[in-house]
Symmetry: C2
């Protein structure tokens, strides 16, 4: 059993042997693994989820925890709160699983007026929220080049792009990103039909769809769902779909039934150190540090709170 | 049911409305979807697999078809042919599934001298084959920027990187890439323990591990395997592992039991057109063509032969 990429620690020998440029930090500081950096992190480097912006997607296999992004899609998030509060998704399904792309869920009959579920008091029409003003938005920028956006980094803890020329920012489609499915019209999404990225980051969707959040725990419950046999991963046979017991806002779940989580803040030295430790891996396994990291390869650590 | 990214076709209105640069090709030619491009492709744009470089990984759920890369890892591929020919993997297992990373398979007891399977006439030691000379290697280069390598493109049909400064080329870690697991020493892989990428392209592994091929059909059988409960996705409980019925070379399987496949050649105008149609999607769904594509987002079409 030959593990790839074991988490061990060594000095700088491997990095230096490759002749790669060593930053002052790298040269002056012994290499610490991401886990060592996390273990040494101060409590202030962590944040908790806002229960009013946290969704629990309850499956037979367990709970998927989602953080919503009201800073990027306020109208969609408001509608999603209404839909969750009124139990819209309870008894619906994951009706699409396309390999190396997305799972999609909600009302499988949404496009059939005769069968579609009642949307209750949710709005039937919303503006497209593909991007927002970057003004006033704290943006923890990565120095790394990106082919899809002029600048990439993290905003409100989400992977994001930014364009100084337009003054806009937007959420990026990475593994775990939650988006609002739409038809052809840009403003045809209302947040009732949702998808989560389960494949190689489909960044071509950035600024083409309203993105509304990110899975922070439970991705493995979505990524392993049997792929749909129909084109684009749909299931014509309803029996193959994955039942959704409920989707609830954490704020509407009794405190004792909530999932306590802490997320590493992206505006901290701890986070910067994690990113650098992944950009240039100098443990004994890696012979050639990459000197680069892609936005969607950056880990966003989550942990259970310490007691 | 609101599908994202339906494959429909329109003219250039959407692209032009965004003010994106239109190439001569884009301006002069109506947009064709990837499927339309494939449907119009000449037979000469396709190639078949060499049975002596094709592995069938046989699972209870079906067959995974793998193309080996003797042009990049000749010593490892030779050892893999020996191991397959002697039935080394028959009765072994997929003993690791780590979410958003890899599945790994072979002999779960390889590191336990008392239990390890006999390697038969396979070699016990091989050189690391992390990269090869780029001299004489046909390289279908992408114009798109890449953060991990000076140049990226396709060689022998595989996603690859190239460095003009060193004159080297190597296989890239994309979804479906097959690599040879190793211990800490660079030359500790022999091709008996293998992994397949099932998550966001871990390009930091490029030139750190010997890559030996790529899954060309059946990824959905690997990507949906239940993630292992132990760290790094291992299963301590052997009952949770996925049994491997056999791994065989196609050349050692009766012709009537082989899986006939055709792969789009990457050195053809058809392939260039597919890449451009994905780099700048101008169907009615996309409002903003990306103007870029990442190496690991490029589709590598496979089809059953026409009769």
């Amino acid at each position: 059993m030959r593990p790839i990429a074991p988490p061990r620690v060594i000095a700088l020998a491997a990095a230096l042997a490759c002749g790669l440029p060593a930053t002052a930090t790298a040269a002056d500081t012994p290499y610490r693994s991401p886990q060592q950096i996390l273990d040494a992190s101060p409590a202030s480097a962590w944040r908790t989820l806002d229960p009013a912006s946290t969704l629990y997607l309850e499956l037979d296999a367990g709970r998927v925890v989602i953080e919503l992004a009201p800073g990027f899609a306020p109208e969609h998030v408001a509608n999603i709160r209404t839909l969750a509060g009124e139990g819209f998704w309870n008894g619906t399904s994951i009706y699409r699983s396309q390999d190396n792309f997305v799972v999609q869920f909600g009302d499988a009959d949404a496009d059939d007026a005769a069968k579609a579920k009642d949307l209750g008091s949710a709005k039937r029409q919303l503006p497209a929220e593909f991007e927002r003003s970057a003004a006033g938005l704290a943006f923890d920028r990565l120095p790394d080049v990106d082919g899809w956006a002029p600048e990439v980094g993290f905003a409100d803890g989400f992977p994001a792009g930014r364009d100084p020329a337009t003054g806009k920012a937007w959420l990026a489609h990475c593994y775990g990103t939650l988006g609002a499915g739409r038809n052809e019209a840009a403003d045809s999404s209302i947040g009732a039909e949702l998808y989560v990225v389960t494949g190689q980051s489909p960044r071509q969707l950035d600024r083409n769809i309203t993105t509304v959040g990110r899975v922070v725990q439970g991705m493995e419950l979505l990524s392993t769902i049997r792929r749909g046999p129909e084109p684009m991963g749909f299931y014509a046979d309803a029996a193959l779909r994955t039942p959704i017991r409920a989707i609830r806002l954490a704020s509407e779940v009794p405190a004792t039934e909530r999932t306590p989580l802490e997320l590493l803040r992206t505006d901290t030295p701890t986070f910067d150190a994690i990113v650098e430790a992944r950009r240039n891996r100098r443990d004994s396994f890696y012979k050639r540090p990459a000197g680069h990291i892609d936005l969607c390869n950056v880990p966003l650590p989550v942990r259970a709170p310490k007691r």
